[in-house]
């Protein structure tokens, strides 16, 4: 989770230090599996047999089940949000301790610790198939202050993530804009000079 800074917060110093920072390549916890796809489809009542029925999918031009496009990020990551870390590291390589987005969002200093995701953009280049092993790297491309109803000094963070398969083929890119804000009681306390 974000590192909320107590006291003075210098957005220009944070921008100077963090914009352009890039994570090392990190591998997804597990290969692409059927059951996360089933859970994902169940959530939105998606009955697409290309995602759910191996017999059907085998007869298609894809030759087997593929992942719904937006699950590429899940399969390239830790498996849960917020990242759990902990003793189970799946297929993660030695020295890789946390998913890319976690290492950026978890370390960049912010004013508040509460999160709201705002904007997302995906581009897809190749199908993600059962058994694929995805990896990704993330760069922080912008961080700025912009007022929201809950916090006049909300801090917004923009990241760009590139997701690859085990053949080092780029399968997807994701641009994400997340805002961090303070709780109303913290904002009120600052307004009162406490």
């Amino acid at each position: 989770m974000p590192k909320a800074v107590e006291g003075d917060y210098d957005i220009e110093a944070v921008r100077a230090e963090w914009i352009g920072k890039k994570t090392p390549r990190s591998h997804g916890r597990y290969p692409v599996e059927y059951d996360p796809i089933r859970r994902h489809c169940h959530m939105v009542e998606d009955e697409n047999p290309l995602f759910l029925d191996p017999s059907f999918a085998k007869q298609t031009s894809h030759g087997g089940v593929i992942s719904p496009p937006v699950l590429a990020g899940y399969f390239a990551g830790d498996g849960a949000w917020p990242p759990t870390g902990g003793p189970t590291q799946g297929q993660r390589r030695a020295g890789e301790e946390i998913e890319p987005e976690g290492s950026i969002i978890g370390d960049v200093p912010t004013r508040g610790e509460r999160l709201i995701n705002m904007n997302v953009a995906w581009e897809y280049f190749a199908p993600v198939r059962i058994g694929d092993e995805l990896s990704s790297e993330t760069v922080l491309t912008d961080i700025f202050e912009k007022s929201i109803r809950l916090d006049p000094k909300a801090v917004w963070i923009v990241t760009e993530r590139r997701i690859y398969n085990q053949r080092d083929e780029l399968v997807a890119t994701n641009t994400n804009t997340l805002l961090t804000h303070r709780r109303p009681d913290v904002v009120a306390a600052e307004a009162e000079g406490n």
């Binding site: 169940h42 959530m43 939105v44 697409n48 059907f56 937006v70 997302v120 953009a121 641009t175």
Partner: protein
């Protein structure tokens, strides 16, 4: 085994075509499915006390659910041989418990594309009866040509 459905082709599509999509009821069960399906355990999406402490009136549905619904709208529409090339969206308003969320879209343009597939652009969105459009979105998809 599921049977093959009719494949939409680029020639079938015209600018202005509407996609009526589908409706999702945000019941208590759907809220749990949201967490299961997205594996997003951030409490603002399932813990009312946590959400209210942060200044929200209610918990709200997460990015994983939102993008899964928009993605389903597209993958249902492009069919097995189509391809979702780009999708972007803005979560401007919230979908909250007891909302009825409708995923819809409209074709905004088409071009020859490349790689043997035709390109189609769409405006898509999620809306609910309480506040209207919550999630405006744009997409570019590829459709096969008619033989």
């Amino acid at each position: 085994m599921t049977t093959q459905t009719n494949q939409r082709t680029w020639e079938d599509v015209n600018e202005g075509d509407e996609i009526d999509g589908f409706v999702l009821e945000l019941t208590d069960t759907k809220m749990v499915e949201q967490v299961s399906g997205s594996q997003d355990f951030y409490p603002v999406h399932h813990d009312t006390g946590f959400a209210r402490e942060a200044g929200h009136d209610e918990i709200f549905y997460n990015t994983g659910f939102t993008q899964a619904a928009l993605s389903r709208l597209l993958t249902d529409w492009v069919g097995t041989d189509g391809w979702v090339k780009k999708m972007s969206f803005q979560m401007r308003k919230m979908n909250i418990p007891n909302d009825q969320v409708h995923a819809k879209g409209v074709v905004t343009g088409k071009s020859e594309g490349d790689g043997g597939m035709g390109e189609v652009t769409l405006d898509i969105w999620l809306e609910n009866d309480r506040v209207g459009i919550t999630t405006p979105a744009e997409a570019t998809v590829l459709l096969p040509h008619r033989d």
